[in-house]
Amino acid sequence: MKLGRNLNIVVTGIVLCGLIVGGLAERQYSGTEEGLRPVVQVCYIVSAVGVVWLGWRWQKLAGAITSIAVQLKQGKPVQGICALSEAINERANKDADRIAELEKQIENLQIQIQLSQRRGKNTEAIIYSIRDAVIVVDEFDKLLMANEAAGRLFNFDFNSSQHKPISELIGPGKSEFVDFLKQSRRNRAGATKKEIEFLKNTEPKTYDCIISCVYDERQQVCGTVAALHDITREKEIQQMKNDFVSHVSHELKTPLASITAYSEMLADGEAGDEKTLKEFCLIIQNQATRLNRLIEDILNISRIESGLIKVEKKPVSLTILMEEQLQMIKSAANEKNIEIATPKPIVFDQVYADKDMISQVIVNLLSNAVKYTPAGGSIKIKTEVDEIAGLARVSVIDTGVGIPEDEVEHVFDKFYRVSANKKRAKGTGLGLNLVKQIVEKVHNGRVFVTSEVGVGSAFGFELPLAKSETVRV
């Protein structure tokens, strides 16, 4: 087929060349040179043969087309047409495959776009859900993104603040943060951290501020991300821990100082007579006991908190426990001339409790009442039973110095000491926390306090009553 088509083109070319050359030769040399005439004639003859051959080819092609048409009309299969049809089908199939491939690529791209959009939304959702304030600014320090926490912290609405300079959005009171943000960008810092203090709704707060620069493909800073984590509470706890260590070391060193000094005096023979020698030994013994009690208090809190303390619960009478513990603090109360009103006996005030632990609770409350009640004051002890609620309640009411209103809720916190009363008496800030831990954590009870400065305080606790059948008669 291809050869035939090429042959047609060649022959057509020859015919045209023959005619052109023959024509030109005849025109140029007509009448001058006889010798050239045969050339013209050969050209025309070649052209005539070519025309005849081409006519024969076209007639043959016309015959073939006619034959195919006849065969098609008669419904007979035509070999050439089938090949054409197959070629067309093959081409169509190839195109269909290509289209399918392109469609698949489009589908993949659409999926990629959706994934990318979802990722973007997820990232936004993550940033929005973070409790810490997160701010993203561009290379000109204009706001790109901020979560709700950041909006609350700096008092701006993100939607109306986008693309505004961060220094305009954040007030002068928080300029330290803006300066740090700008400085980190200028320094191209990977991640820098700084503690920043400022007011949040008139409340002083400390934030741990971490700033990271974002780089583009040319490694140029194209933005900055700032995260602000509120560490006010952590700082307070850290301060409380430091204060606790300081208090405890002071409390431990005080009896230790007596033990060291008196033992040195004994060793140096400065006790003098037998009576002084005995007195020194007794002081050493008492101070060692005091030291041990303090260490036990610290360990007890630690054991209760970690759940390692051994608890031996059995039915005990609160009134009897109260009577026993009163004897322990009577001498301290007498020294300050404090009168103690004892409870009326109650028929049934048995609670299911660890006797030693509840004794510790009572003695802590009583000794606090004596410590913070001025000389000549009084302490009243109330023991009540609420049969409907199934509770026994003990209250220690003093005529002491009282606690300021804003500090009352903290008195059971570990290490907490009422600031106004720190100078009045020594303490570790552990006694009332131990009371709370024993009553609430070990016995499922409740501690309570009411107080008025200059009038006095009422500290107490409630414990579930022991069930009658568990009480041995």
Partner: protein, 130 residues
Amino acid sequence: MSGKKVLVVDDEIHIVHVVAIKLRNNGYEVLTAGNGAEAFELACEEKPDIIVTDYQMPVMSGMEFVEKLRSNEATRDIPVVMLTARNFAIEDEQKKGLGISQCLSKPFSPKELLENIEDILYQRQLVADN
């Protein structure tokens, strides 16, 4: 240095007691107080030669007491030895500013305290003699 008057201030009665015995055994006259406020009154009345005071006390702390001593004409120059159960609680500059001659950490040795008192009084004596 016998016959010199020492004021011992601490809310821990046992510490006051042991220091007083140590000093009396060595010929000193000893006055005692349980807090800064009581001690200041006593210092104004008795004008002791030296004061030994605790750092942390109820009512008036050791530092407040020393500040008060320094602001009073009659007690301004009395040397002070401070006992403290808190390490590093008193900065050197603060110590210098308030004229605290010596700081001893609790637990302390009564013998060392006595030596410090004697040194301080001896230095004072030398300055006074010259």
